[in-house]
Symmetry: C2
DNA sequence: TCTAACTTTCAAAATAAACTGAAAGTTCAG
DNA sequence: CTGAACTTTCAGTTTATTTTGAAAGTTAGA
């Protein structure tokens, strides 16, 4: 397999992986392209490699930056902006975990706690089952949240080759 | 907040959560509905509650069954099929983790290992960076895979109130 | 200030995903 | 067998998401 073939296959694969995770294909492909590129790339480089429009690159690149996966690399004397991706996949994975925790788990916990304001005088079987389910979900979420928090704080130790423990 | 309001809000919320995770809204809503229902429900019950078509219920219900989150509940003497969801959210979460591991992590590892057949004689900087990235990703994936495996096997202990450890 | 080089925005178009509903398929009691 | 009760399929439609491309916005050097 030549380099070009591998590259294509990787970009393809990373793109379709993304779509399973609610990330759009193009964004994942841009990320893949930057991951394997030794140099930082300009908007035009990306447009050409992936055959997509300027606007598309611009918007998805902004999202990648918001996710903390990509940074601008401003070269002195150059007017154009260049972009590069965090290459250490541990760091990238942690970044994603942290962001999703913030964006999804926290709001979900908020909703769940609102749902507990359900009228306590309703003694129907439905209402009881409902309350039980909500409490159960809250419990799972808060434990998962705690575990992810520990995980992201353990990152440094882990990266240093130490032992990672997640304790309930 | 009345029971009906809470119920609606929960189904809504669970539905939109799903879409962040590559799960379609309706499937998540059916799951939510079954989660809070003390009795198992028929296709018609679901159609009516969520105002969706028979075909839609049928297909999404099948997916939920494939995910191992819902089971058929055949009542003696009844021709109709009824459905119920696993109510213990720990079990449900583990089920999802196991399935995603099987469906996504394993194929991804397969692709990555294929990519390593890249011609080793290519000494370009691009090829070197590429190989490095692939190896790094493989490393992260295989560690994540191991951790999830341990997690799902630790499930019983966890559920018994024991300590969960994930060791690198 | 002016303008060329570059970035950002966003309405419209293209594409993809989900949903419907009716027809086809299945099952089983009589 | 037959047909009523139920489930499954899938072509066509609707809805949602993504992409384009050109116009508007920004910036910096002359």
């Amino acid at each position: 397999m030549t380099y070009e073939e591998s590259k294509l296959k990787f970009i393809q694969g990373w793109g379709s992986l993304g779509s399973n995770w609610g990330i759009n294909r193009t964004m994942a492909q841009i990320h893949a392209l930057l991951l394997i590129s030794p140099k930082s790339l300009s908007t035009e480089d990306v447009m050409e490699e992936l055959k997509i429009s300027r606007g598309n690159v611009n918007m998805n690149m902004r999202d990648l930056i918001n996710w903390g996966l990509v940074r601008k690399d401003l070269k002195p004397g150059e007017r154009k902006e260049f972009f590069y991706a965090e290459k250490d996949m541990w760091k990238a994975a942690m970044q994603i975990i942290k962001e999703r925790r913030k964006r999804e788990l926290e709001p979900l916990m908020q909703v769940m706690s609102e749902l507990k304001t359900l009228d306590k005088t309703d003694k129907s079987e439905e209402a009881k089952e409902f309350t039980k389910t909500i409490e159960n979900i809250e419990d799972v979420i808060s434990k998962a949240d705690g575990a992810l928090d520990k995980l992201s704080r353990a990152q440094d130790n882990w990266l240093l080759g130490g032992l990672m423990k997640i304790v309930k």
